[in-house]
Symmetry: C2
Subunit: 233 residues, 2 copies
């Protein structure tokens, strides 16, 4: 049984890691935002900056994983405390993948920029799904910051909406392509962007699930989650 002193030190160390994970979350949010902007405006230099900026996200992943390992070795947390570290490690992985998906959006923006002219209104096609995924990611990070399981639980349904929107976009783009094969290249770049946005929604949902796991001590991945009565108020 750790002494109260080492347990308090554990809490301090953990809070320091958590605040760094939140900084990583903020960086990933701004990468995602910038990537969408390059897709809207066709700004190739900014797209390159997003792709380059992913290196910083990757470095943060490695160093924060390392900090979690050190914390475990030094403080030897009990089961309850360990749960938070485990969830933090998973959140770090999801944030890194959101960074990857953002670079895919920037690459699609660059591809599009190299074509003479866009034959469809590519940004308008993904505007709503992008707004929804942006707000889902923001809210998931907020729930993680405040360890708010009720807020986290409310986000899971939002990811389903995003999945639905993606299927609608796919059907729309297929129609464009069939009606006018000259739109195929642009439509496919738009489809990859929509797919990357949809996956960012999945990662944000994962983060929400880990918040619930930390707070309630239940692993709700792969289940039909029903919040505890106390949290429905």
């Amino acid at each position: 049984m750790p002494s109260e002193h080492s347990s308090r030190q554990y809490d301090l160390d953990l809070e320091e890691i958590r605040s760094k994970v939140l900084l990583m979350g903020g960086l990933v949010e701004s990468q995602f935002h910038a990537a969408l902007e390059t897709f809207r405006t066709g700004d190739a230099a900014r797209a390159d900056a997003v792709i380059k900026g992913d290196e910083q996200v990757n470095r943060l992943e490695v160093s924060l994983d390392d900090a979690c390992s050190h914390l475990i070795v030094r403080r030897q947390p009990a089961a309850n405390d360990l749960r938070t570290v485990m969830a933090t490690i998973k959140v770090i992985t999801d944030l890194e993948r959101i960074g990857d998906e953002s670079t895919k959006i920037a690459r699609a923006a660059r591809n599009l920029q190299e074509r003479a002219v866009s034959t469809i209104n590519h940004y308008e096609t993904v505007r709503t799904i992008a707004e929804n995924a942006t707000s889902l990611l923001h809210d998931a990070l907020d729930a993680f910051a405040r360890l708010d399981a009720a807020q986290a639980a409310s986000l899971i349904a939002k990811d389903e909406l995003i999945d639905y929107e993606f299927r609608v976009i796919m059907r729309t783009l297929i129609t464009f392509m069939m009606e006018d094969p000259r739109t195929i290249s642009v439509a496919l770049d738009t489809l990859w962007v929509a797919k990357a946005v949809e996956r960012i929604g999945d990662h944000a949902k994962n983060i929400a699930e880990y918040v619930i796991y930390v707070v309630e001590g239940r692993d709700i991945r792969h289940t039909e989650y029903a919040p505890k009565a106390s949290q429905q108020a």
Copy 2:
């Protein structure tokens, strides 16, 4: 400093987890194989079985994550030993994602089955990339089983080949679609399958990287990996 007895118990517990992770790996390999078969044959019942079978993969993820947490709490491993558990947790995540990608292949096979007739030779288009990803996954799991960093290092270049093959497939399918818009639906299903296969290659590469991390104690994610001289023999 743990006693020799508890350290030996740690090794036994860890080996038990590792062998279960390898069983999960075998299950995921067979899900991937079956999914590709449904895409080749159009067997809708088998596609449904793959989709249903993902539940078992998901359950394994949750229970193996849990086993890793218990191991850490009970045995309080030193830094060196903890590295293996951390890598195992990451491998479990990658295996679960490979399961997800396999269900996407099965879903595309089901979609295709519902169309009257395939206008392109959809399976032939992905045959080579599928064979390469299958062998990459198999070899990565083998390297993980034997903790063979040299084998793992040799796999990283194979993932680059798979990424290249994906880009070739995409160009080929765009050409098909432009030449004959009636192929668009089937070409897109084929593109999703190729994308899922490409991502399975990425996850297999991640597993190889974790093997190197365990054996050499270096985190080579996001670096240009050069194997140690001793392993180039």
